[in-house]
């Protein structure tokens, strides 16, 4: 409990810090409680997983420390609002960008440095997995949006970098989905689906247009809600049966109807069914990606399909059909306490899915600013480096339309 509270302090600090050094302090400090949560309360391979988690993330973030120091030396301050107005020399931007990238890419995690994530997720206790998926991973995307893009705009808009990042994101989307399809372990499946979903988030960011970035932010929230729910669902069944083998289950819907319903909602929200939150984020990202490059969008859409495939198949294998394993016959359904955990999350998922306008309204200004900083000429028809047809458009209108007229995504 202490570890969780310390972790929460660190996470809030990370997202609230307006000073690079302070940000780094919290960013790193968060590792310690998480290490202990996995290492002390984790599963059988917890030691391996916690070490891997710590070493991977640390290796990335020490490089970020160097970049922070270099930026500090160049600008004379680590105050982020001041740094926003400072233009760094191009060579420094490139190196610092790479260093930041090393840190955030591991944290996210992007393919191919994602390997710590399944281990950490599988070994962590349920609460640890939920926090890890919902918040810790977002430190990476937050870092891209907060530091890489606005502070180092020229490096971020670099054609090669954008292409590589998009490629890595697409690989993550498809690879994560394919690996999820093959997983015999329930929790590992969801862990790999995280890789896939975070791939969407980075793709949105590096589409470098308002739709992509806004969608990415929304998708981060969505991922926190839906994957958090999935991990809770797994944790609850694990408490009852002490196994995560998908093959051990089957036909649970007959035994635990409430559980199956909640799982269905979580699964559909994660798969991106319209009227639930996942759709809003994925659709907006795809829209942004399409605007940047049709090829990206084409590949990303296969990720959506695969995502639906592995989740539905998971649902079919565990929940539907006849009860195949006699041990599952006596399982208790969700208690009132457990339902109470899910209800706000479900309500939130539906809210974002049905009426996301408040979120996009909040996002509109910062997103426009970020995009303007990276691509000063965006939206004036002069910059068509990424998009095949650059035409000015008002981002939030597109969002609202997207939700009025669902059905175009899949």
């Amino acid at each position: 409990m202490i570890a969780f509270l310390v972790l929460e302090t660190m996470m809030i600090g990370t997202f609230a810090a307006l000073d690079l050094t302070l940000f780094y302090l919290f960013f790193e400090g968060g590792l310690i409680p998480m290490f202990l949560i996995i290492g002390v309360w984790g599963g059988p391979r917890r030691v391996y997983a916690s070490f891997k988690f710590f070493l991977y993330t640390l290796l990335g973030s020490v490089l970020m420390l160097l970049a922070i120091l270099a930026l500090y030396w160049d600008a004379g301050t680590t105050d982020i609002p001041t740094l926003m107005h400072h233009t760094f020399p191009r060579s420094l931007q490139n190196w610092a960008w790479l260093a930041f990238f090393a840190s955030f890419a591991v944290k996210l995690p992007m393919w191919p440095v994602h390997t710590w994530l399944p281990d950490a997720h599988v070994e962590a206790p349920t609460a640890g997995s939920v926090v890890l998926a919902s918040v810790l991973l977002k430190m990476g995307t937050y870092g891209f949006l907060r530091f890489s893009l606005p502070l180092l705009p020229e490096a971020s808009a670099d054609r090669t970098i954008v292409q590589i990042l998009a490629a890595l994101s697409l690989v993550a989307i498809i690879y994560g989905a394919l690996v999820s399809l093959m997983q015999p372990d329930w929790k590992k499946l969801v862990a790999y689906s995280s890789v896939s979903h975070l791939g969407f988030c980075t793709l949105g960011i590096f589409a470098l247009n308002p739709n992509g970035v806004a969608g990415s932010v929304i998708q981060q929230v969505n991922h926190g809600i839906s994957t958090g729910m999935l991990f809770l669902i797994i944790g609850m069944i694990y408490e009852r049966r002490h196994t995560r083998e998908i093959a051990e289950y089957g036909g649970l819907a007959h035994v635990m109807p409430k559980y199956a319903t909640v799982f269905a909602i979580a699964m559909l929200s994660s798969a991106g069914l319209p009227l639930l939150n996942g759709f809003v984020g994925e659709f907006t990202i795809l829209q942004g990606a399409f605007e940047a490059s049709r090829v990206w969008a084409a590949f990303a859409v296969t990720g959506v399909i695969l995502g639906a495939a592995y989740l539905l198949w998971l649902y079919q294998r565990t929940m539907l059909g006849q009860v195949t394993n006699r041990k599952n016959l006596g399982l208790a359904d969700l208690s009132a306490r457990e339902l109470a955990i899910f209800l706000p999350l479900i309500a939130w998922a539906v809210w974002i899915g049905v009426y996301p306008k408040p979120y996009f309204d909040v996002l509109q200004r910062p997103v426009t600013e970020i995009v303007e900083r990276v691509r000063p000429n965006y939206g004036r028809g002069a910059d068509d480096r990424l998009s095949s047809s650059a035409r000015p458009r008002r981002p939030q209108n597109a969002m609202v339309c997207a939700t009025c007229n669902p059905g175009g995504a899949q």
Partner: protein
């Protein structure tokens, strides 16, 4: 200058005088007054008193300098100089000697070697350190070094019935004497160049010559051997793991902290004094040595199963980080070394103190197995150890991060990007072996064994180190200002 001995002279060495007097008093007292060995447990009070007076002397020196607006005050015709630098490092020595003095009693008694001269030796060693930080004359520095080294040879071999301790002392003595020979050779060459032993005169004479002048080069390399040996930099680090492992843990703590701080002060005095003009020669040399030190220290530590040995290799790698500050060489770097030494004092002392507590009458308590399950047995110690290890690894928000921060910043400021990248990557390596201890403490089951040897003094010392390790990391401002004084404004 016409008077041989003035009151100013006296004033410049007063802390050292107090330490030596108290050391002698402890010896006499132990010999003449103490009725039974049981009463020896009151001896640390003498040492504490001595440190208090020495601290008072330092405080008066500091007050005198600020009152008169002086940046330095020399005594004995320029042989010793008190300035912000010397006072800062002497505070480090006072604190570490104080902490070591109050925690040793139970440990030595468990080892069956609690003798009065131990406390005398602590104070004598410290007076040697005083001259290392204060001396501005080759001979004074050398005598200070030898005084410190000789007492440490004795202290490392203090467990007379323990073979490891004897072996460690002999190794340390032989290698130490050998390196002192090199150092003396280098110093004699410097004297030959300058015709004087005053650092300022030597500096002027060396800067008048080309840095590639063979005599200067020879003086530089031979003196470097001696200096680098003392801070246990690779390839002169061989003695450290053996000496650290064999010595009584309290001595190891003292050796790893105070001796290293004194040697760093000495190193800075020489490299930034007489050898400053030969920077283009020693900078690449030290860069190679620093990288080698980081590499060997960190990689060798990964496979250790003895905690003291592991910490010994880790302290080798810390010497590498301190060297990097010198290589950067700007004021951030030198100040960074001061900060590093300060945080290193508390975190390293703290880590060793936990090992001290593991030593019980029937258990040596130095293996990773011995610390297993510490979290269940005494959570307070486990959490403190976690803080110290995190700090040693340089993870924020602990003090160790701050030390590394300034070193890295200095490297970046002076354009040593490659060194900076190497140094940061080794932070991740270091985490691996520090966390081996953490894993042992938190994850593994505790074996059945007697409770930890905890005394009032040990708890106080651990508490102070722990609080400071966190405080420096969380609220660094006053500590940074204190370290700034080492730059002499």
């Amino acid at each position: 200058m016409n008077q041989f001995y003035t009151s100013t002279d006296h004033f410049t060495i007063i802390p050292a005088l107090i330490l030596v007097l108290f050391g002698c008093a402890i010896l006499l007292f132990d010999f003449l007054v103490i009725p039974t060995p049981r009463h020896r447990k009151w001896l640390p009070l003498f040492a504490v008193l001595g440190e208090a007076f020495a601290g008072l002397g330092l405080w008066r020196q500091q007050a005198y300098l600020t009152r008169n607006g002086l940046s330095e005050l020399t005594g004995f015709q320029g042989s010793v100089t008190i300035d912000g630098f010397s006072i800062f490092y002497n505070w480090i020595f006072v604190v570490s000697a104080l902490i070591v003095a109050i925690v040793s009693y139970k440990y030595l008694e468990n080892a069956g070697e609690h003798h009065g001269e131990y406390y005398g030796l602590i104070l004598f060693a410290q007076s040697g350190m005083y001259f290392l930080a204060t001396g501005t004359d080759l001979v004074t520095l050398f005598v200070g070094l030898e005084l410190m080294a000789l007492t440490f040879y004795v202290m490392v071999g203090f467990l007379r019935s323990d073979k490891r301790s004897n072996e460690a002392a002999l190794k340390y003595l032989l290698l130490g004497a050998f390196s002192s020979g090199f150092l003396a050779y280098g110093f004699s060459l410097m004297y030959g160049i300058a015709g004087s032993t005053k650092l300022a005169t030597v500096a002027a004479a060396i800067s008048a010559r080309s840095p590639w002048d063979p005599v200067v080069f020879l003086a530089l390399t031979t003196a470097s051997v001696g200096l680098l040996f003392k801070i246990s930099a690779v390839p002169f680090h061989m003695w450290a793991p053996d000496a650290y492992e064999g010595a009584p843990t309290t001595v190891t703590a003292y050796l790893s902290v105070a001796s290293k701080a004194a040697s760093i002060a000495f190193l800075l005095r020489i490299y930034l004094g007489p050898l400053a003009s030969a920077r283009q020669v020693w900078e690449p040399l030290l860069s190679v040595i620093a990288v080698a030190t980081l590499t060997i220290g960190n990689l060798a530590a990964m496979n250790q199963t003895n905690i003291k040995r592991l910490l010994a290799y880790s302290s080798i790698s810390h010497a590498g980080y301190m060297l990097l500050g010198l290589i950067a060489g700007n004021s951030t770097g030198i100040n960074g070394i001061a900060v590093y030494v300060m945080v290193y004092t508390f975190m390293n002392l703290g880590a060793f103190l936990v090992v001290v507590a593991l030593r019980r009458s029937n258990i040596i308590g130095e293996d990773l197995d011995d610390i297993a399950g510490l979290m269940q047995k005494s959570p307070g110690y486990a959490v403190l150890m976690l803080i110290f290890l995190l700090s040693l690894a340089g993870i924020p928000p602990t003090a160790g991060f701050l030390g590394k921060y300034y070193i890295f910043l200095a490297l970046i400021q002076t354009g040593h990007y490659a060194l900076a990248v190497i140094a940061t990557l080794f932070v991740a390596v270091a985490i691996y072996y520090y966390f081996k201890i953490v894993r042992s403490m938190f994850v593994r089951e505790a074996p059945e064994s007697s409770p930890l040897a905890s005394t009032f003094g040990l708890r106080v010392a651990l508490g102070v180190s722990g609080v400071l390790t966190l405080a420096i990391g969380v609220f660094p401002e006053p500590f940074l200002r204190f370290a700034q004084t080492s730059l002499g404004r």
